[in-house]
Structures are given as structure tokens and as C-alpha cells.
Symmetry: C3
Subunit: 142 residues, 3 copies
């Protein structure tokens, strides 16, 4: 199977908070990077998700917002992954920014070229990759 | 009226599961393609959605993830539309992949060029277009 | 701090509807532009959001859908901002459309070049920028 999303985090379910309607699922990679996903309780049941289960978290690049510099705001997003810019793929309008997380997982964000310029991003810049738990897709092995 | 989103599915409400807070709405096109949207119960009321009502489901291309090959994972997304790649619009970083669904509805996904290469996508490749019900906008005729 | 998202609305919380699970937060800029965000009730508490609090609403350009012409549909999205196209940044596939809102806030949408052509968008075209409350990130000053 191949998947178009550039960010696929393979790991295990390390936390599962179930509510009447929604559930929050934390998936931790073997390197220790952590992704939180928000699913319906129905999906938790139909996927058979439980603590320790193998799972993947999928995040498309256009859903990832980058922060750099001294934090001036706290955000509502459940996922705030600290990493370092490793490379760029530049287009006419958009730029794919590749980031390395401390646990060894890469994550990419699609941002505008203007954002890269404004943020003064270069290889090695420390950044935070921000995305909502409700934007994460979860998969379990067939 | 014109709309920037490339994926507009015109159909009728064929299923409506209402909860205290959210509701799941299935819209089926005349050709039989089905889209599931998650709305707040407030939106269901204010739009006057009911079984058989005319409605459109709107999905922007960056919200669509593509899968190809033998399924290795089951996903939390409510929309998994099986179709065939019909054409591409390639840029420097991103590529718009156009897909034809069995019911005759086209659907497009914005993915990276790297994804197209990794997935070995060509015209005629069978793919699955994946997106969350919570990413779908619903409209009803004025 | 710098942020990659092109749409950052700085304002104050002017409405707060809390439910058992989710909350709807309206942020109004000094110029009077209004953005509605959907957060978990947990986020409202952890951010300490209350009426009159300083906050920012963050919306990435791929989340914004544009409408033009005579309205033919009513939509489920809580945010429908009426504005005027001010400029474009065109790529091979995608185009960043910059829009000015009446309160003086700019908002940008990433749409396909095909959409710009189909919609006949030019500088000065009146448009509606549409996005779901659940796609908005909220930040509060540290």
C-alpha cells in the first residue's frame, strides 16, 4: 500500500481517552515522537483501538502550521511538535518544509514562500509543527 | 454562484444520523457516489436538512489523501472513495490528481509530486480518495 | 514569534458558547472582522479563554474556500467573510488569492488556478471566504 500523505507516523497507542462521542488517541513512534488524534468513539470501536495496539497517524502537509522564535502565544492545537528544519522543496507559491523531530520522525509542512521568507527559515532553524488532533487520520493494520 | 473548491458533489440526503451535538449526513449523487459529512446538530437545523433534501458536499483538494495498492491499514476516515486516476496537473511542488469515481463524479486531490512518484501514479491507476467527514462542507439551495 | 499561517486575526473574545464537549469562540478584530472557532471545552479551560480576553485566530490558506456571484446555496460553515479580491500570487497549479475584509483584515485562500479562471476572479471581485469553525486554531498571549 502507498499513501499520498507525506507524514505517516507508525507507532503504538499509548493513551486513549474515551468520551461519549469523541475519543483522543495518542500514538507514540518507536523513537518516542507523539501524535494525538481525535476520533469519533464509533471509529475507536470499529478500528478496535486499544492501549498498545499498532497504529499509524496520518497528517497531510497543508494541515501543518509552523511556529518559530520565542513563543508569544499558547495554542488550542493538541499537537505541537518541536523539531529542526532539515530541507526545503520550493515552488512558485508554496514550499514544502521538511523538519526532523527529536525521536527521528520527519514531518513536512506545506507553507507559502512568503511564510518561509517572513520566518527567515533556513536549514537548522528550530520550529514547532502545529496541527489539530481532529485533523489526524488514524489507521490500523488489516 | 461559483465556488473555488474543485470537488462539489450535488445530490440528495440519503442518510441522517442525528446526535445531541453532531450529526452525520450522507449525500448521494445521481450517479450513486456517496459522501459523508459531519455537521453540528445546529447546522442540520439551520440548513433544514432532512431525508431526500437537495444538498451539495464540498471538499477542497488539499483535504484529500490518496491510497493505492493492496490495503494494509483500515482508517478512521468515513469517506473512502474508490476510483481511477484520470489526469494530472503538475506544478513544481504540488500536483493535482484528478480521479473518476464509478458513479461518474470526478474528485481531485492536491498531493506532492514526491507522492505521485512514490505511489507510481499514472492514468488508470486505481486509488482510494480518503477524507474525514468533519472536513466536508454542506450546502443547501437558497 | 513568527508563524507560517498567512491568516492571523488578532482580537478579543466577543462570544463564548460552552457545551459539555465543544465550545464556540468568536474573536473580533479591532476593525470589527469576526472569526468563529470551535475548540474542545478542555482547550477553553487550559487557555483560560473568557469574554474580552486577547486572542488570535489562525487559519491556513488551504482551509479557505471562495464563493463569488449570486448565492445559490446556504452552507454549514460558521465563517462566511465577505470581502474583495486585492491581489494574486500565481503558481503552476495553485494560486494564493488575497482578499481584503471590510474591517481591514486581509485574508488569503489557496485555490487552484482552474478555480481562479472558472470564477473569473480579478482585483476588485467581491467574494465570500468560507471556512469551518473547526479549522480555526486559537492562541492566547503567553
Amino acid at each position: 500500500m502507498s499513501i499520498s500523505a507525506r507524514n505517516v507516523f507508525k507507532g503504538k497507542v499509548t493513551e486513549l481517552k474515551e468520551g461519549p462521542i469523541n475519543a483522543e488517541v495518542e500514538i507514540t513512534t518507536s523513537g518516542g515522537d507523539k501524535i494525538v488524534a481525535m476520533l469519533t468513539e464509533g471509529s475507536v470501536k470499529s478500528l478496535g483501538l486499544g492501549m498498545g495496539a499498532d497504529a499509524i497517524a496520518v497528517v497531510k502537509t497543508p494541515w501543518v502550521t509552523l511556529l518559530a522564535g520565542t513563543p508569544q502565544y499558547r495554542f488550542s492545537a493538541r499537537n505541537m511538535l518541536h523539531g529542526t528544519v532539515s530541507s526545503f522543496v520550493k515552488g512558485a507559491v508554496n514550499c514544502q518544509v521538511n523538519i526532523m523531530l527529536p525521536g527521528g520522525s520527519p514531518i513536512s509542512a506545506m507553507v507559502t514562500n512568503a511564510a518561509v521568507a517572513d520566518m527567515n527559515l533556513t536549514e537548522g532553524t528550530p520550529v514547532v509543527a502545529l496541527f489539530k488532533a481532529s485533523h489526524v487520520l488514524v489507521g490500523v493494520p488489516v
